[in-house]
Symmetry: C2
Subunit: 234 residues, 2 copies
DNA sequence: AGCGCGCCTTGAAGATTTTCAATCCGGCTG
DNA sequence: CAGCCGGATTGAAAATCTTCAAGGCGCGCT
């Protein structure tokens, strides 16, 4: 069996009760006491763009929460086609299915530099069974993942290319809270939208010409929300 | 708020411990004793094709398990487009999100005659918190729903129309255990695949001409698995 | 500075899909 | 039985996408 491709930047043991993104993370609802119930062998590490967190079929003994950056979940078809079925961002959990002892269902790949926490399955499973709060959090995650999946299908895989790209950009912007956001490669965008890299490029290039998509700091961009929303309607 | 559209054939109070599809249903793992822990005000009823089980935004106080027939979960876009994001069949649970107190996320519509059990939320919630077995079942359902969603995206919304239709037919056949299966309307198939009704019709008509899709008893059909699998590869 | 590499952009031709309109078909109704 | 209705099918033209190929551009490396 293929082993997970984690061989990278190990930052150290985490202190979850002092975590900067605790309000977003899996353990957000744990009470102070819960943290002391067990020793938490949780550590932080990071991946560079393109590195895999795990591959389909892997049976890693951990789940991961994303501290920063973006992780794409990729699913392949026998004929070589593939789709990005979801993108995980800050606070999301990768590898939820491992909690049910299923092998990983996707390839999980860093889209940019990503910081993560590795949480041993055992920790989550124990805490889950003991603390209803964590339990609720977990269900919550399932729900969110599913709602996301449906949205992708309905909004990002329906209609002509221009519409899809517009919706994707609006999504990213919304997810970033209206701020500038990271624009993935054309290939990745295409894989999210079910269109080719070239088509994606043609559309984004046009959006740029129209001034509806402008680059900002570094790899970030901003959009003309109103204009793109227009495209979405018709 | 819109009320659920159930006004139909009420069959009566169910006896879950004697249910014919118990091994598939939500309560499959409950022990005999569990059934006696509470009185189960669960009843059976049915919908005719086209009738709604609930609508997006409804806050029905029940979940439903499908005893027979097919339910489509439909999601609409502001511009009037829509996609079928999943199809529920025997043993599946409709309205899972209600367990988390979220309003329904889709329109749930009968695709043919459907028999259902209505299970009050309270019953599930109580049992869930008391019996780990039911609890595991529930998580299991979430997982399955999510895996389905991903499959739809990867297999049914990717590639040219012929390929998608072929994959859809293979899916249906597999879900029916290789037996003859119910072929939805072209419109519904189109909504699952993200293509127009006409395109769907053209492809299925061609498949019929090729003899890869033949009608069987009543509304049922059978397929040439090998031939359609071929289309899937390239 | 020169180069190579990875990704983006562009064009043109060809293939697919959508659109729009007409017909067809089976079943049901008056 | 004629007529009607809701799908299903078909065709032709127009709109979109994909394919294939050729540059470009920016950036890190030597």
């Amino acid at each position: 069996m293929k082993q997970p491709a984690i061989d990278t930047a190990w930052r150290g043991v985490a202190r979850c009760d002092a975590c900067a993104i605790r309000h977003l993370a899996l353990f957000s609802d744990l009470a102070h006491e819960d943290f002391h119930r067990i020793h938490l062998p949780i550590d932080e590490f990071s991946l560079e763009r393109g590195q895999a967190l795990y591959h389909r079929g892997d049976t890693v003994a951990s789940v991961f929460t994303v501290r920063s950056g973006l992780i794409k979940l990729v699913q392949h078809l026998p004929n070589g086609d593939f789709r990005i079925v979801r993108v995980l961002r800050q606070g999301d959990v990768a590898g939820l299915e491992r909690l049910n002892d299923r092998p990983a269902e996707h390839d999980a790949i860093a889209m940019d530099r990503v910081e993560l926490c590795r949480i041993p399955l055992g920790v989550v499973q124990t805490l889950r069974d003991d603390t209803p709060r964590l339990h609720r959090q977990l269900i919550e995650r399932w729900q969110r993942a599913l709602a996301d999946a449906d949205t992708w299908l309905t909004e990002l895989s329906t209609g002509p290319a221009r519409t899809r790209v517009a919706r994707l950009l609006l999504h990213f912007e919304a997810a970033a809270g209206g701020a500038d956001f990271f624009l993935p490669t054309r290939e990745d965008m295409g894989a999210m939208l079910g269109i080719t890299t070239e088509s994606t490029s043609k559309v984004t290039a046009e959006f740029k010409r129209q001034g509806w998509l402008q680059s900002a700091e570094g790899p970030f961009v901003r959009i003309d929300r109103a204009a793109l929303s227009q495209l979405t309607v018709r």
